[in-house]
């Protein structure tokens, strides 16, 4: 039954997340995950035949998808590109800060986390770029973009800025709306969105 397949996979990945929360990325075994998810080691290997590394990578991908879905849900009802960027950066930062996994990460774990997240990165890039492309096309249709803006280049640019600023805000507190709005207006959209008075 397909549902129970997804269900058990999720059950295992949730168990893995609880293990990481408790011990960090390097400090748990498949036995720990089995105990945490109430399954046998054999069933874990049935769903993740390549073992621990596969489990970590796929759990990271799954958690990443949940993270970005949460951010998208928080901004979907907003009207302007500017508001979506401002709120998206704030919500994303709050979610990262409240994540016990991130809080528990010790320095030796960074390499392993980067390793686990590495394979998801091209995927995250594509998803965000597609999202930005759709937003920009809507803004273009509404006549909100500056003359000559190339939607594909702008979508690529915004994707990079979002990921870079989330990874390292470099002194800006993204949970402070006024700071984030100033950053978004200048560094994200000044070359993309037409100033209100010129349209």
């Amino acid at each position: 039954m397909p549902e129970s397949v997804g269900g058990t996979r999720e059950q295992i990945m949730r168990g893995a997340l609880r293990c990481v929360e408790r011990t960090g990325l390097s400090g748990f075994s498949l036995e720990d995950v089995a105990r945490e998810s109430g399954l046998s080691r054999t069933s874990i290997y049935r769903y993740f035949p390549q073992g621990r590394q596969q489990l970590i990578t796929e759990t990271a991908t799954w958690e990443m998808a949940r993270f970005w879905t949460g951010v998208a849900e928080a901004v979907n009802d907003l009207d302007s590109l500017e508001d979506r960027l401002v709120v998206g950066l704030r919500v994303g930062t709050e979610r990262i800060r409240s994540s016990r996994i991130m809080a528990n990460l010790m320095d030796p774990d960074l390499d392993e986390l980067a390793n686990a997240l590495g394979p998801t990165e091209p995927l995250v890039n594509i998803v965000i770029r597609d999202y930005m492309t759709a937003l920009l096309e809507a803004e273009a249709a509404a006549g909100h973009l500056r003359d000559g803006v190339q939607v594909d280049l702008a979508a690529d640019y915004l994707t990079r800025m979002v990921l870079s600023v989330m990874a390292s805000p470099a002194g800006v507190d993204l949970t402070e709306e006024s700071q984030t709005r100033a950053l978004v207006r200048r560094e994200f959209i000044s070359g993309i969105v037409a100033p209100p008075d010129s349209s």
């Binding site: 960074l110 986390l113 980067a114 990079r160 800025m161 100033a182 560094e187 000044s190």
Partner: protein, 235 residues
């Protein structure tokens, strides 16, 4: 680490000042050997013996110069290589004639330097995860801080201090992002692609009374506003 002011660095290079290793010294020779080995077979597989052989000194000499062994050398190497690239970048910026030129130079030259650095090139093709880890989390924060503190004084001819720092961090973001996740259509080490990016997305941010700091003129004739002039920044 305290930001290095223009006065403290000039005339010596930040790569020397930040590491305490003078170019031409035996220490520098050993660190150069680390970079050569890392470019050949990666930092993980490089041993102290490899480094000693490459530098033409004994293993004992390496440990006398670097009691912390390989980790200490790798750390110093990283700082030295990054600061060395930034020294070269600052030298290039000195010949720039306007802000457009400066920003385009940071993007294109910065990307070219990252592309050509042997240890980074090795990681890119053999150990992409290690490269990602190098540009991750608080390491990325510290890297942006270092880049901004070393490079932004050279923009004070065209921008106020806050705007200069923002502009350098902004460019550093794009260089790091493009070198980790290249887009085929945008090759930043190519000056015309860098220029298009600058004109499309960065310069407009400095055109009309930027948020949070003083207005800026793009016309070199009108620069600089005296209240933004940096004390150690005469050209």
């Amino acid at each position: 680490m305290s930001p290095i002011t223009g006065e403290a660095v000039a005339p010596s290079r930040a790569a020397d000042v930040l590491t305490g290793v003078d170019s031409g010294s035996t220490q520098a020779k050993v660190l150069d050997a680390v970079v050569a080995c890392a470019g050949r077979w990666g930092i993980d597989k490089t041993t102290v013996d490899d480094v000693a052989r490459e530098a033409g000194v004994s293993r004992a000499t390496v440990y006398r110069l670097f009691p912390g062994g390989k980790p200490a050398m790798v750390h110093l190497c990283t700082v030295r290589e990054v600061a060395g690239m930034l020294d070269d970048l600052v030298t290039r910026i000195e010949t720039c004639t306007d802000l457009d030129d400066v920003l385009t130079t940071i993007l294109s030259e910065g990307s070219r330097m990252v592309e050509q650095q042997p240890a980074i090139a090795y990681m890119r093709s053999h150990e992409p995860a290690a490269l990602r880890a190098f540009f991750s989390f608080d390491r990325l924060d510290r890297l942006f801080e270092l880049i901004t503190s070393l490079v932004s004084p050279s923009l004070h001819r065209f921008l106020g201090a806050d705007d200069a720092a923002a502009a350098v961090t902004w460019c550093a973001r794009l260089v790091v992002s493009h070198s980790l996740n290249p887009t085929e259509s945008v090759e930043l080490s190519d000056r015309s692609a860098a220029s298009e990016l600058v004109r499309s997305f960065i310069l407009p941010g400095f055109e009309s009374g930027p948020v949070g700091s003083g207005g800026v003129t793009l016309d070199p004739q009108h620069r600089p506003q005296s209240q933004f002039q940096h004390p150690g920044d005469q050209t």
